[in-house]
Amino acid sequence: MMKKILMILMVLLAVCAVTFAQGQKAEAEVKESVEGFDWRQFEGETIVTCFPNHVTYNALMPLIPEFEAKTGIKVEVDLLQYLKMHDKQVLEMSKPSGDYDLISMVVMWKTEYATAGMLRPLEPYFENPNLAYPDYDFDDLVPAYVENTGYVGGDKIYLGGEGATLYGVPFGAETSIMIYRQDIFDEYNIKVPDTYDELMAAAKFITEEVPGVYGFTSRGASGHQAMAGYLLHASPFGASVFDENWEPAFNSPKAIAALEWMKEMFKYGPPGMTSFGQDGQFQAFLQGDAAIYLDASVFAGKARDPQQSTVYDKLGYAMHPLKESRLSESGGFGLGIPANASNPEAAFLFMQWMTSKEVERKVIENGGAPFRMSSVSDPALQAKYPDFAVLAKQLPHVNPDWRPLIPEWGEINNMLGIAVNQVLTGEKQPQQAMDEMVAPVREIMVRAGYIK
């Protein structure tokens, strides 16, 4: 008996010692290799990046000279409006030699790009000891973001898993959380909504009882915006665009229930919501016209910025409310290296640098959104940015499959988004609008060979 206990103790001790030693050794090694890592190996080269005019990227801009000083690589940024980037990128990447060395892609486009052979797989770069920054810590990147922005060819073509290839890393990636007006909730003694029913009740109450303030703000403009706003709710309602066999499911009872809910919710938003893009949605909250925001988490950076927000000191945060689940969106941007890039290695250095732990912290400081577990769960940062604590709780509920990112999604997204908008404006009834879309969407899917 004693022997056994002793044995266990000794084993434990040994394990501890080894771990400790290894830790020490690992730390030493890291230090050494960090010093040994050659940041200046591509000195004198110029890389061209295509970035969106977006909060997190804007937060990066002032930091770029640091990278240029550190590496001797010159960085040129082609800043575009995000929906305009697609055509430019496709065009550049279809040429024998393109203009861009590093692109930021909306996750919707990754499958299209990757299956057309326009992007370089990133594994070879991460495995190359001369190129891979040893202190990078890939596993610290929010796994759901990596799956959503980076992997193609797994369980479903646009997901990770068996057989998937890495084409991107997240930067400007996001999920959804709720941001609300703490002052109004306190003053009127409203319970912070934890379910979809409570959310509706709170929005209704605020619209009816609080003078000059509407309950909810959402995007609703025809096309992509309305569709994004809708899918955000479809996911926790247990609805999806296609079923397991790629048959349209957007007219299923659950999908219609989500749409009905959204239509009802639009009664409690500021006027003009059916024309709002993200801009309108944000402004309504920032100007104090709406009390609850439920959408992309990147907005937190704007909401707490006194220069942009009239309500920066009155904010509360909560998780995505519960219906069947709390499955939240996963969207935003990732970084990829075009197959026809002229300076892919230098671009890879820049990609690693801008997504490294140190730079991520500075980006957050400048109002950007976090994308590493280490920062989201850092108590010091959580104290400074209360949304991080909520985000940390939300991240396990991220649904990478909340919309089907197949190459044909652009067209389907636009068609369904028009229909959703028509429902929101009252032009059509939910069931009718979605039923009408089945035939045309099916036709696209048949043509693309998903179904017969």
Binding site: V48, P52, N53, H54, V55, E76, D78, L79, L80, Q81, Y82, L83, K84, D87, K88, L91, E92, S94, K95, D99, Q225, G277, Q278, D279, F282, Q283, Q287, V298, K302, Q308
Partner: protein
């Protein structure tokens, strides 16, 4: 006496009416300029701040940030060269049509008239594909040549009208003196159609300077023009109205200049083809 008062009242009512119409005309332009001179807080505030401290922050920040200077220079180069070539070639063709009889002329005239009607959006896809294949998409040349072509029908038409108004006896006496057609065109026709050249130039410049869709599709970060730069600020994550209206104001500057210095030519241009004479 009575009718005089009535007339006066009529005049006053008319005057008020005209003033209101001009205010309606001008208000959006006032709104653009004033917003560009405001901080966003003032721009969004309602009731509107009619009196505010102007700031040039929006202008300095667009000039400093991004590639505004580059876009501005591109716009100038593209608009000026499109204007030069389109007007010059238009004058040559106008001369040919106004002064000579030859086979196939009717066909050419019909062709130019038809081409004048083509919606530029129809060209976007095929030109984009053809230019990419030829390697001239994303170049200023590729954009200029499209603008030259789009404006040619109008320029040919206007300049042909001006040339036709020059007495043919002038040509004749020069030809008798032994001048070639080219010399006649250069020494006699060109100087006499200067007002027509002004009209054609202003209109070509205006269209090339303002054009958006083709420039959006046919340019890249090196060759992009100003109207496209506006749309870069219409982001979905927050429309920066101050900066957008600042760029919009800069784009509108040539329009202001032309309007206040060349109103007569503008009216001639607008009425060309619609009103005879």
């Amino acid at each position: 006496m009575k009718s005089v008062t009535r007339k006066r009242i009529g005049k006053t009512v008319l005057m008020i009416f005209v003033i209101i119409a001009s205010l309606v005309c001008i208000f959006p332009i006032y709104e653009m300029i004033s917003t560009s001179l405001k901080y966003d807080v003032d721009a969004f505030s309602l009731p509107p701040k009619w009196i505010f401290t102007p700031t040039f922050d929006n202008y300095t920040s667009i000039f400093v940030s991004s590639n505004f200077g580059r876009y501005f220079i591109n716009s100038v180069i593209v608009a000026l060269s499109a204007t030069f070539f389109s007007v010059f070639l238009g004058a040559l063709a106008g001369y040919s049509i106004a002064r000579f009889r030859y086979k196939g002329k009717k066909l050419i005239v019909i062709l130019t008239l038809l081409m004048r009607m083509i919606p530029p959006v129809i060209l976007v896809v095929p030109v984009f594909i053809l230019w990419t294949k030829m390697g001239i998409s994303d170049t200023r040349f590729g954009l200029v040549i499209v603008y030259v072509a789009l404006n040619l029908p109008f320029n040919i038409w206007v300049l042909k009208t001006f040339i036709a108004d020059i007495p043919y006896s002038l040509d004749e006496s020069a030809i008798i003196d032994g001048c070639s057609d080219w010399t006649v065109f250069r020494k006699i026709i060109l100087p006499l159609i200067a007002p027509g050249i002004a009209v054609a130039s202003i209109f070509t410049f205006r269209i090339s300077w303002n054009e958006y869709i083709l420039s959006l599709v046919l340019t890249n970060r090196f060759t992009r023009t100003l109207p496209v730069a506006v749309s870069l600020y219409l982001t979905d994550a927050g429309t920066e109205w101050g900066k957008i209206t600042a760029i919009a104001t800069i784009i509108a500057i040539p329009a202001f200049i032309f309007t206040f210095t060349a109103a007569k030519q503008l009216i001639t241009g607008m009425t060309a083809g619609a009103v005879k004479g």
